[in-house]
Assembly symmetry: C2
Homo-oligomer: 246 residues x 2
DNA sequence: GTCAGCATACTGGTCTGACCAAGATCAGAC
DNA sequence: GTCTGATCTTGGTCAGACCAGTATGCTGAC
Protein backbone atom coordinates (compact mmCIF):
# COMPACT_ATOMS: atom_id res chain seq x y z
CA UNK A 1 0.00 0.00 0.00
CA UNK A 2 1.08 3.48 -0.71
CA UNK A 3 0.83 4.57 2.85
CA UNK A 4 2.69 1.58 4.05
CA UNK A 5 5.46 2.34 1.66
CA UNK A 6 5.66 5.94 2.71
CA UNK A 7 5.94 5.06 6.34
CA UNK A 8 7.88 1.86 6.06
CA UNK A 9 11.25 3.08 7.16
CA UNK A 10 9.91 5.04 10.08
CA UNK A 11 9.75 3.91 13.62
CA UNK A 12 6.50 3.41 15.41
CA UNK A 13 5.84 6.90 16.59
CA UNK A 14 6.96 8.50 13.39
CA UNK A 15 4.81 6.13 11.44
CA UNK A 16 1.64 7.09 13.25
CA UNK A 17 2.51 10.75 13.33
CA UNK A 18 3.30 10.80 9.64
CA UNK A 19 0.13 8.92 8.87
CA UNK A 20 -2.01 11.45 10.68
CA UNK A 21 0.02 14.33 9.39
CA UNK A 22 -0.63 13.28 5.83
CA UNK A 23 -4.33 13.07 6.39
CA UNK A 24 -4.42 16.39 8.16
CA UNK A 25 -2.38 18.23 5.61
CA UNK A 26 -4.19 16.68 2.69
CA UNK A 27 -7.44 17.77 4.19
CA UNK A 28 -9.00 14.35 4.42
CA UNK A 29 -9.08 15.00 8.14
CA UNK A 30 -10.82 18.27 8.82
CA UNK A 31 -11.62 20.07 12.05
CA UNK A 32 -14.56 18.43 13.71
CA UNK A 33 -13.82 14.98 12.33
CA UNK A 34 -13.58 12.17 14.79
CA UNK A 35 -10.56 9.93 14.39
CA UNK A 36 -10.87 6.20 14.48
CA UNK A 37 -10.25 4.73 17.89
CA UNK A 38 -6.79 4.27 19.26
CA UNK A 39 -7.10 0.51 19.04
CA UNK A 40 -8.14 0.57 15.41
CA UNK A 41 -5.36 2.99 14.60
CA UNK A 42 -2.91 0.73 16.35
CA UNK A 43 -3.89 -2.40 14.45
CA UNK A 44 -4.21 -0.44 11.21
CA UNK A 45 -0.66 0.79 11.42
CA UNK A 46 0.73 -2.29 13.07
CA UNK A 47 1.89 -0.58 16.23
CA UNK A 48 0.88 -0.80 19.83
CA UNK A 49 -1.59 1.44 21.50
CA UNK A 50 0.91 3.31 23.68
CA UNK A 51 2.65 4.39 20.51
CA UNK A 52 -0.58 5.62 19.05
CA UNK A 53 -1.20 7.53 22.21
CA UNK A 54 2.21 9.16 21.96
CA UNK A 55 1.36 10.42 18.52
CA UNK A 56 -2.08 11.61 19.55
CA UNK A 57 -0.62 13.33 22.56
CA UNK A 58 1.91 15.01 20.34
CA UNK A 59 -0.84 16.33 18.11
CA UNK A 60 -2.70 17.43 21.19
CA UNK A 61 0.08 19.65 22.47
CA UNK A 62 0.35 21.04 18.98
CA UNK A 63 -3.27 22.00 19.26
CA UNK A 64 -4.24 20.02 16.20
CA UNK A 65 -6.32 17.42 17.91
CA UNK A 66 -8.27 17.03 21.08
CA UNK A 67 -8.53 13.80 23.03
CA UNK A 68 -11.89 13.58 24.72
CA UNK A 69 -12.08 11.12 27.52
CA UNK A 70 -14.25 8.17 26.63
CA UNK A 71 -15.52 9.98 23.57
CA UNK A 72 -12.75 9.80 21.05
CA UNK A 73 -10.17 11.97 19.37
CA UNK A 74 -11.41 14.85 17.28
CA UNK A 75 -9.62 17.26 14.99
CA UNK A 76 -9.79 20.79 16.29
CA UNK A 77 -9.42 24.09 14.59
CA UNK A 78 -5.79 24.90 15.24
CA UNK A 79 -5.59 26.99 18.32
CA UNK A 80 -2.79 29.40 18.59
CA UNK A 81 -2.63 29.15 22.33
CA UNK A 82 -0.12 26.36 21.96
CA UNK A 83 2.37 28.95 20.90
CA UNK A 84 1.98 30.35 24.34
CA UNK A 85 3.19 27.09 25.78
CA UNK A 86 6.16 27.08 23.53
CA UNK A 87 7.16 30.65 24.09
CA UNK A 88 6.75 30.30 27.80
CA UNK A 89 9.24 27.48 27.80
CA UNK A 90 11.50 29.04 25.24
CA UNK A 91 11.81 32.41 26.84
CA UNK A 92 11.80 31.24 30.42
CA UNK A 93 15.31 29.98 29.97
CA UNK A 94 16.83 33.24 29.03
CA UNK A 95 16.01 35.66 31.77
CA UNK A 96 18.21 38.38 30.39
CA UNK A 97 16.16 38.20 27.28
CA UNK A 98 13.47 40.49 28.57
CA UNK A 99 14.68 43.49 26.65
CA UNK A 100 14.87 41.36 23.59
CA UNK A 101 11.36 40.09 24.02
CA UNK A 102 10.30 43.65 24.47
CA UNK A 103 11.62 44.41 21.01
CA UNK A 104 9.36 41.76 19.61
CA UNK A 105 6.44 43.21 21.48
CA UNK A 106 7.17 46.63 20.06
CA UNK A 107 7.35 45.10 16.63
CA UNK A 108 4.00 43.41 16.99
CA UNK A 109 2.24 46.39 18.48
CA UNK A 110 3.55 48.89 16.00
CA UNK A 111 2.39 46.76 13.14
CA UNK A 112 -0.88 46.05 14.88
CA UNK A 113 -1.62 49.70 15.40
CA UNK A 114 -1.16 50.34 11.72
CA UNK A 115 -3.63 47.64 10.87
CA UNK A 116 -5.91 48.88 13.61
CA UNK A 117 -6.02 52.25 11.94
CA UNK A 118 -7.35 50.58 8.86
CA UNK A 119 -9.51 47.89 10.31
CA UNK A 120 -10.79 49.00 13.69
CA UNK A 121 -14.52 49.20 14.04
CA UNK A 122 -16.72 51.07 16.47
CA UNK A 123 -16.54 48.31 19.02
CA UNK A 124 -12.77 48.44 18.90
CA UNK A 125 -12.81 52.16 19.40
CA UNK A 126 -15.11 51.77 22.36
CA UNK A 127 -12.93 49.18 23.94
CA UNK A 128 -9.91 51.37 23.45
CA UNK A 129 -11.74 54.31 24.95
CA UNK A 130 -12.76 52.32 27.98
CA UNK A 131 -9.20 51.14 28.44
CA UNK A 132 -7.97 54.69 28.16
CA UNK A 133 -10.44 55.89 30.75
CA UNK A 134 -9.41 53.08 33.04
CA UNK A 135 -5.79 54.13 32.79
CA UNK A 136 -6.77 57.53 34.08
CA UNK A 137 -8.87 56.10 36.88
CA UNK A 138 -6.25 53.69 38.11
CA UNK A 139 -3.24 55.90 37.70
CA UNK A 140 -2.52 55.70 41.43
CA UNK A 141 -2.86 51.98 41.78
CA UNK A 142 0.12 49.84 40.86
CA UNK A 143 -1.76 46.66 40.19
CA UNK A 144 -4.94 47.90 38.59
CA UNK A 145 -2.94 50.49 36.74
CA UNK A 146 -0.76 47.86 35.24
CA UNK A 147 -3.74 45.89 34.15
CA UNK A 148 -5.35 48.92 32.58
CA UNK A 149 -2.15 49.67 30.74
CA UNK A 150 -1.93 46.15 29.50
CA UNK A 151 -5.56 46.17 28.46
CA UNK A 152 -5.08 49.30 26.43
CA UNK A 153 -2.21 47.84 24.49
CA UNK A 154 -4.03 44.59 24.16
CA UNK A 155 -7.01 46.42 22.71
CA UNK A 156 -4.84 47.93 20.04
CA UNK A 157 -3.65 44.54 18.95
CA UNK A 158 -7.12 43.10 19.02
CA UNK A 159 -8.30 45.99 16.89
CA UNK A 160 -5.81 44.96 14.24
CA UNK A 161 -8.05 42.00 13.59
CA UNK A 162 -5.00 39.91 12.91
CA UNK A 163 -5.10 36.60 14.66
CA UNK A 164 -1.41 35.97 14.24
CA UNK A 165 -0.44 39.28 15.72
CA UNK A 166 -2.89 38.81 18.54
CA UNK A 167 -1.51 35.43 19.40
CA UNK A 168 2.09 36.47 19.26
CA UNK A 169 1.35 39.51 21.35
CA UNK A 170 -0.49 37.42 23.87
CA UNK A 171 2.38 35.12 24.47
CA UNK A 172 4.97 37.84 24.51
CA UNK A 173 2.94 40.02 26.84
CA UNK A 174 2.55 37.13 29.23
CA UNK A 175 6.28 36.93 29.59
CA UNK A 176 6.59 40.61 30.20
CA UNK A 177 3.90 40.72 32.82
CA UNK A 178 6.07 40.94 35.87
CA UNK A 179 8.51 43.37 34.41
CA UNK A 180 5.54 45.43 33.43
CA UNK A 181 4.26 45.39 36.95
CA UNK A 182 7.55 46.35 38.49
CA UNK A 183 7.76 49.23 36.12
CA UNK A 184 4.35 50.38 37.17
CA UNK A 185 5.55 50.67 40.69
CA UNK A 186 7.74 53.50 39.61
CA UNK A 187 4.64 55.50 38.91
CA UNK A 188 3.88 55.96 42.56
CA UNK A 189 7.31 57.32 43.31
CA UNK A 190 7.60 59.61 40.37
CA UNK A 191 4.59 61.74 39.53
CA UNK A 192 6.04 62.82 36.23
CA UNK A 193 5.22 59.39 34.94
CA UNK A 194 1.55 59.93 35.51
CA UNK A 195 1.21 62.62 32.92
CA UNK A 196 3.42 60.64 30.64
CA UNK A 197 1.22 57.60 30.92
CA UNK A 198 -2.05 59.41 30.51
CA UNK A 199 -1.00 61.80 27.79
CA UNK A 200 0.83 59.23 25.76
CA UNK A 201 -2.00 56.78 25.75
CA UNK A 202 -4.44 59.49 24.86
CA UNK A 203 -2.28 60.57 21.95
CA UNK A 204 -2.05 57.03 20.75
CA UNK A 205 -5.78 56.65 21.04
CA UNK A 206 -6.36 59.81 19.05
CA UNK A 207 -4.09 58.67 16.28
CA UNK A 208 -6.01 55.46 15.94
CA UNK A 209 -9.31 57.29 15.94
CA UNK A 210 -7.93 59.54 13.22
CA UNK A 211 -7.00 56.38 11.34
CA UNK A 212 -3.52 57.76 10.78
CA UNK A 213 -1.14 54.78 10.68
CA UNK A 214 2.04 56.80 10.46
CA UNK A 215 1.20 58.98 13.40
CA UNK A 216 -0.10 56.07 15.42
CA UNK A 217 3.04 54.05 14.80
CA UNK A 218 5.32 56.96 15.58
CA UNK A 219 3.43 57.88 18.73
CA UNK A 220 3.37 54.35 20.00
CA UNK A 221 7.03 53.94 19.26
CA UNK A 222 7.83 57.10 21.16
CA UNK A 223 5.72 55.83 24.01
CA UNK A 224 7.81 52.72 24.26
CA UNK A 225 11.01 54.68 23.97
CA UNK A 226 10.06 56.93 26.85
CA UNK A 227 9.07 53.97 28.96
CA UNK A 228 12.46 52.54 28.22
CA UNK A 229 14.08 55.76 29.24
CA UNK A 230 12.27 55.77 32.55
CA UNK A 231 13.33 52.27 33.22
CA UNK A 232 16.89 53.01 32.36
CA UNK A 233 16.93 55.94 34.71
CA UNK A 234 15.43 53.89 37.47
CA UNK A 235 18.15 51.32 37.07
CA UNK A 236 20.93 53.82 37.39
CA UNK A 237 19.14 55.55 40.24
CA UNK A 238 19.18 58.73 38.27
CA UNK A 239 15.47 59.21 38.00
CA UNK A 240 13.96 62.28 39.54
CA UNK A 241 10.75 64.16 39.47
CA UNK A 242 11.42 65.93 36.22
CA UNK A 243 9.77 64.67 33.09
CA UNK A 244 11.65 62.42 30.79
CA UNK A 245 12.83 64.32 27.77
CA UNK A 246 10.41 64.06 24.94
CA UNK B 1 6.01 16.81 49.50
CA UNK B 2 5.34 20.08 47.87
CA UNK B 3 5.56 18.71 44.41
CA UNK B 4 3.39 15.82 45.25
CA UNK B 5 0.78 18.18 46.54
CA UNK B 6 0.91 20.35 43.47
CA UNK B 7 0.39 17.46 41.16
CA UNK B 8 -1.94 15.42 43.27
CA UNK B 9 -5.20 16.12 41.56
CA UNK B 10 -3.85 15.70 38.09
CA UNK B 11 -4.07 12.61 35.99
CA UNK B 12 -1.05 10.67 34.97
CA UNK B 13 0.02 12.57 31.92
CA UNK B 14 -0.72 15.94 33.42
CA UNK B 15 1.18 15.00 36.51
CA UNK B 16 4.35 14.20 34.63
CA UNK B 17 3.99 17.11 32.28
CA UNK B 18 3.38 19.53 35.13
CA UNK B 19 6.31 18.10 37.03
CA UNK B 20 8.68 18.66 34.16
CA UNK B 21 7.13 21.99 33.30
CA UNK B 22 7.79 23.26 36.79
CA UNK B 23 11.40 22.24 36.65
CA UNK B 24 11.87 23.72 33.23
CA UNK B 25 10.21 27.02 34.00
CA UNK B 26 11.91 27.35 37.34
CA UNK B 27 15.24 26.83 35.66
CA UNK B 28 16.30 23.82 37.66
CA UNK B 29 16.28 22.02 34.33
CA UNK B 30 18.43 23.89 31.89
CA UNK B 31 19.31 23.19 28.26
CA UNK B 32 21.93 20.51 28.12
CA UNK B 33 20.78 18.78 31.28
CA UNK B 34 20.03 15.11 31.04
CA UNK B 35 16.77 14.02 32.56
CA UNK B 36 16.57 11.00 34.77
CA UNK B 37 15.62 7.86 32.94
CA UNK B 38 12.05 7.12 31.97
CA UNK B 39 11.86 4.30 34.46
CA UNK B 40 13.06 6.42 37.33
CA UNK B 41 10.69 9.19 36.39
CA UNK B 42 7.87 6.69 36.28
CA UNK B 43 8.50 5.29 39.71
CA UNK B 44 9.23 8.74 41.09
CA UNK B 45 5.88 10.08 40.03
CA UNK B 46 4.02 6.87 40.52
CA UNK B 47 2.95 6.42 36.94
CA UNK B 48 3.75 3.93 34.27
CA UNK B 49 6.42 4.27 31.67
CA UNK B 50 4.10 4.75 28.71
CA UNK B 51 2.65 7.76 30.47
CA UNK B 52 6.08 9.18 31.05
CA UNK B 53 6.81 8.65 27.40
CA UNK B 54 3.69 10.55 26.45
CA UNK B 55 4.85 13.51 28.44
CA UNK B 56 8.36 13.34 27.08
CA UNK B 57 7.03 13.06 23.56
CA UNK B 58 4.84 16.08 24.19
CA UNK B 59 7.86 18.06 25.28
CA UNK B 60 9.70 16.79 22.26
CA UNK B 61 7.19 18.13 19.76
CA UNK B 62 7.28 21.38 21.67
CA UNK B 63 10.98 21.44 21.03
CA UNK B 64 11.82 21.64 24.70
CA UNK B 65 13.44 18.28 25.03
CA UNK B 66 15.18 15.76 22.86
CA UNK B 67 14.88 12.02 23.30
CA UNK B 68 18.09 10.36 22.26
CA UNK B 69 17.82 6.73 21.54
CA UNK B 70 19.63 4.64 24.13
CA UNK B 71 21.24 7.77 25.54
CA UNK B 72 18.59 9.54 27.50
CA UNK B 73 16.42 12.60 27.39
CA UNK B 74 18.13 15.95 27.33
CA UNK B 75 16.81 19.47 27.58
CA UNK B 76 17.43 21.38 24.39
CA UNK B 77 17.57 25.03 23.62
CA UNK B 78 14.06 25.64 22.30
CA UNK B 79 13.99 25.32 18.58
CA UNK B 80 11.58 27.20 16.40
CA UNK B 81 11.05 24.35 14.03
CA UNK B 82 8.18 23.39 16.24
CA UNK B 83 6.33 26.47 15.25
CA UNK B 84 6.85 25.43 11.72
CA UNK B 85 5.07 22.21 12.46
CA UNK B 86 2.20 23.99 14.05
CA UNK B 87 1.80 26.60 11.38
CA UNK B 88 2.00 23.99 8.69
CA UNK B 89 -0.98 22.26 10.20
CA UNK B 90 -2.77 25.47 10.93
CA UNK B 91 -2.29 26.87 7.48
CA UNK B 92 -3.31 23.66 5.81
CA UNK B 93 -6.73 24.24 7.17
CA UNK B 94 -6.92 27.96 6.86
CA UNK B 95 -5.25 29.09 3.72
CA UNK B 96 -6.43 32.62 4.28
CA UNK B 97 -4.09 32.79 7.21
CA UNK B 98 -1.18 33.51 4.92
CA UNK B 99 -1.89 37.20 4.67
CA UNK B 100 -2.22 37.32 8.39
CA UNK B 101 1.11 35.64 8.95
CA UNK B 102 2.60 38.04 6.46
CA UNK B 103 1.53 40.89 8.70
CA UNK B 104 3.52 39.38 11.50
CA UNK B 105 6.51 39.03 9.26
CA UNK B 106 6.28 42.66 8.27
CA UNK B 107 6.07 43.57 11.93
CA UNK B 108 9.17 41.62 12.80
CA UNK B 109 11.24 42.82 9.89
CA UNK B 110 10.36 46.46 10.27
CA UNK B 111 11.36 46.38 13.89
CA UNK B 112 14.43 44.36 13.08
CA UNK B 113 15.62 46.81 10.49
CA UNK B 114 15.39 49.60 12.99
CA UNK B 115 17.53 47.70 15.41
CA UNK B 116 19.84 46.71 12.59
CA UNK B 117 20.45 50.37 11.87
CA UNK B 118 21.70 50.77 15.40
CA UNK B 119 23.43 47.50 15.99
CA UNK B 120 24.69 46.14 12.69
CA UNK B 121 28.41 45.61 12.47
CA UNK B 122 30.71 45.30 9.51
CA UNK B 123 30.09 41.62 9.16
CA UNK B 124 26.37 42.25 9.00
CA UNK B 125 26.86 44.86 6.33
CA UNK B 126 28.97 42.48 4.32
CA UNK B 127 26.42 39.75 4.56
CA UNK B 128 23.72 42.16 3.46
CA UNK B 129 25.84 43.30 0.58
CA UNK B 130 26.48 39.78 -0.56
CA UNK B 131 22.78 39.01 -0.37
CA UNK B 132 22.02 42.13 -2.36
CA UNK B 133 24.52 41.18 -5.03
CA UNK B 134 23.06 37.73 -5.18
CA UNK B 135 19.61 39.15 -5.78
CA UNK B 136 20.95 40.90 -8.84
CA UNK B 137 22.75 37.81 -10.10
CA UNK B 138 19.78 35.51 -9.72
CA UNK B 139 17.11 37.87 -10.90
CA UNK B 140 16.21 35.56 -13.76
CA UNK B 141 16.04 32.39 -11.74
CA UNK B 142 12.87 31.66 -9.86
CA UNK B 143 14.35 29.33 -7.31
CA UNK B 144 17.74 30.84 -6.64
CA UNK B 145 16.16 34.25 -6.85
CA UNK B 146 13.71 33.40 -4.16
CA UNK B 147 16.47 32.14 -1.95
CA UNK B 148 18.51 35.26 -2.51
CA UNK B 149 15.51 37.38 -1.64
CA UNK B 150 14.90 35.40 1.50
CA UNK B 151 18.53 35.59 2.47
CA UNK B 152 18.54 39.34 2.15
CA UNK B 153 15.58 39.73 4.44
CA UNK B 154 17.00 37.18 6.76
CA UNK B 155 20.24 39.10 6.92
CA UNK B 156 18.39 42.17 8.04
CA UNK B 157 16.83 40.34 10.91
CA UNK B 158 20.10 38.74 11.89
CA UNK B 159 21.71 42.16 11.85
CA UNK B 160 19.21 43.29 14.47
CA UNK B 161 21.10 41.08 16.90
CA UNK B 162 17.81 40.26 18.55
CA UNK B 163 17.41 36.58 19.21
CA UNK B 164 13.70 36.83 19.76
CA UNK B 165 13.10 38.62 16.50
CA UNK B 166 15.36 36.20 14.70
CA UNK B 167 13.54 33.25 16.12
CA UNK B 168 10.11 34.59 15.31
CA UNK B 169 11.16 35.59 11.84
CA UNK B 170 12.61 32.19 11.22
CA UNK B 171 9.40 30.41 11.97
CA UNK B 172 7.21 32.85 10.13
CA UNK B 173 9.42 32.99 7.08
CA UNK B 174 9.43 29.24 6.83
CA UNK B 175 5.70 29.28 6.43
CA UNK B 176 5.77 31.87 3.75
CA UNK B 177 8.37 30.06 1.74
CA UNK B 178 6.12 28.56 -0.83
CA UNK B 179 4.00 31.63 -1.27
CA UNK B 180 7.22 33.50 -1.60
CA UNK B 181 8.34 31.17 -4.31
CA UNK B 182 5.14 31.38 -6.27
CA UNK B 183 5.41 35.11 -6.14
CA UNK B 184 8.90 34.93 -7.49
CA UNK B 185 7.61 33.16 -10.51
CA UNK B 186 5.84 36.31 -11.49
CA UNK B 187 9.21 37.88 -12.00
CA UNK B 188 9.83 35.94 -15.15
CA UNK B 189 6.61 37.00 -16.72
CA UNK B 190 6.74 40.63 -15.79
CA UNK B 191 10.03 42.42 -16.29
CA UNK B 192 8.88 45.43 -14.38
CA UNK B 193 9.29 43.40 -11.23
CA UNK B 194 12.98 43.01 -11.83
CA UNK B 195 13.75 46.64 -11.39
CA UNK B 196 11.39 46.74 -8.47
CA UNK B 197 13.18 43.91 -6.76
CA UNK B 198 16.66 45.16 -7.40
CA UNK B 199 16.04 48.82 -6.73
CA UNK B 200 13.98 48.27 -3.63
CA UNK B 201 16.48 46.01 -2.02
CA UNK B 202 19.27 48.36 -2.85
CA UNK B 203 17.40 51.25 -1.30
CA UNK B 204 16.76 49.22 1.81
CA UNK B 205 20.41 48.29 1.98
CA UNK B 206 21.47 51.90 1.66
CA UNK B 207 19.17 52.98 4.43
CA UNK B 208 20.68 50.42 6.76
CA UNK B 209 24.18 51.46 5.78
CA UNK B 210 23.21 55.04 6.50
CA UNK B 211 21.96 53.84 9.87
CA UNK B 212 18.71 55.69 9.33
CA UNK B 213 16.00 53.72 11.12
CA UNK B 214 13.09 55.83 9.91
CA UNK B 215 14.08 55.64 6.30
CA UNK B 216 14.91 51.96 6.53
CA UNK B 217 11.58 51.15 8.10
CA UNK B 218 9.65 53.23 5.63
CA UNK B 219 11.50 51.83 2.64
CA UNK B 220 11.07 48.27 3.78
CA UNK B 221 7.41 48.86 4.45
CA UNK B 222 6.95 50.30 1.00
CA UNK B 223 8.77 47.30 -0.39
CA UNK B 224 6.28 44.97 1.20
CA UNK B 225 3.38 47.08 0.08
CA UNK B 226 4.49 46.99 -3.51
CA UNK B 227 5.01 43.28 -3.34
CA UNK B 228 1.49 43.02 -2.04
CA UNK B 229 0.27 45.15 -4.87
CA UNK B 230 1.94 42.91 -7.42
CA UNK B 231 0.40 39.89 -5.89
CA UNK B 232 -3.01 41.47 -5.85
CA UNK B 233 -2.73 42.37 -9.49
CA UNK B 234 -1.62 38.89 -10.38
CA UNK B 235 -4.64 37.48 -8.64
CA UNK B 236 -7.08 39.63 -10.53
CA UNK B 237 -5.17 39.07 -13.76
CA UNK B 238 -4.68 42.76 -14.08
CA UNK B 239 -0.94 42.80 -13.99
CA UNK B 240 0.92 44.17 -16.96
CA UNK B 241 4.36 45.24 -17.84
CA UNK B 242 4.08 48.69 -16.34
CA UNK B 243 5.70 49.39 -13.02
CA UNK B 244 3.61 49.24 -9.92
CA UNK B 245 2.83 52.71 -8.71
CA UNK B 246 5.35 53.93 -6.26
C1' DG C 1 -46.43 2.06 18.34
C1' DT C 2 -43.77 4.62 21.45
C1' DC C 3 -40.69 5.37 24.91
C1' DA C 4 -38.13 4.60 29.25
C1' DG C 5 -34.51 1.79 31.22
C1' DC C 6 -30.93 -1.13 31.37
C1' DA C 7 -27.17 -4.20 29.36
C1' DT C 8 -23.48 -4.22 26.40
C1' DA C 9 -20.02 -2.69 23.36
C1' DC C 10 -16.87 0.79 22.85
C1' DT C 11 -14.00 4.75 24.22
C1' DG C 12 -10.04 6.74 26.37
C1' DG C 13 -6.73 6.23 30.66
C1' DT C 14 -3.66 3.50 32.76
C1' DC C 15 -0.77 -0.25 34.41
C1' DT C 16 2.21 -4.40 34.34
C1' DG C 17 5.75 -6.90 32.71
C1' DA C 18 8.33 -8.17 29.19
C1' DC C 19 11.63 -8.20 25.13
C1' DC C 20 14.98 -5.94 21.94
C1' DA C 21 18.99 -3.26 20.31
C1' DA C 22 22.59 -0.55 21.17
C1' DG C 23 25.44 2.94 23.85
C1' DA C 24 28.10 3.18 28.42
C1' DT C 25 30.86 1.21 31.70
C1' DC C 26 34.03 -1.41 33.98
C1' DA C 27 36.45 -5.76 34.99
C1' DG C 28 39.75 -8.73 33.47
C1' DA C 29 43.06 -10.39 30.02
C1' DC C 30 47.01 -9.27 27.55
C1' DG D 1 48.81 0.67 30.43
C1' DT D 2 45.80 -0.74 26.92
C1' DC D 3 42.40 -3.30 24.81
C1' DT D 4 38.45 -6.39 24.70
C1' DG D 5 34.23 -8.19 25.98
C1' DA D 6 30.47 -8.98 29.42
C1' DT D 7 27.10 -6.46 31.73
C1' DC D 8 24.22 -2.62 32.95
C1' DT D 9 21.34 0.89 31.46
C1' DT D 10 18.82 3.41 28.07
C1' DG D 11 15.20 4.26 24.95
C1' DG D 12 11.66 1.70 21.71
C1' DT D 13 8.11 -1.26 21.60
C1' DC D 14 4.71 -4.65 22.39
C1' DA D 15 0.80 -7.52 24.33
C1' DG D 16 -2.71 -7.93 27.29
C1' DA D 17 -5.29 -6.46 30.90
C1' DC D 18 -8.36 -3.56 33.98
C1' DC D 19 -11.12 0.65 35.01
C1' DA D 20 -14.57 4.14 34.32
C1' DG D 21 -17.57 6.23 31.93
C1' DT D 22 -20.28 7.12 27.19
C1' DA D 23 -23.28 5.62 23.32
C1' DT D 24 -26.05 2.74 21.54
C1' DG D 25 -29.34 -0.51 20.94
C1' DC D 26 -32.26 -3.81 22.62
C1' DT D 27 -35.90 -5.13 25.69
C1' DG D 28 -39.89 -4.64 28.05
C1' DA D 29 -43.49 -1.70 29.92
C1' DC D 30 -46.99 1.46 28.82
Amino acid sequence: MELKRASEGEKGFEKVFAFLRERLLAGSLKPGDRLISERELATLLGVSRPIVREALRALTVLGIVEIRDRIGTVVTRPDVSVLNDFFTFALAQQADMLDDVMQARVAIECQAIRLACERANIADFERLQRALARIGETIDEADAGGMADFDFHRSIVVASHSETLTVLHGSLAGLLTHSHRSRRELVQAFPSMKTYLIDDHRRIFEAVIARDPERADATLRKHFAIGDEYRRRAVVGDIDKTSASR
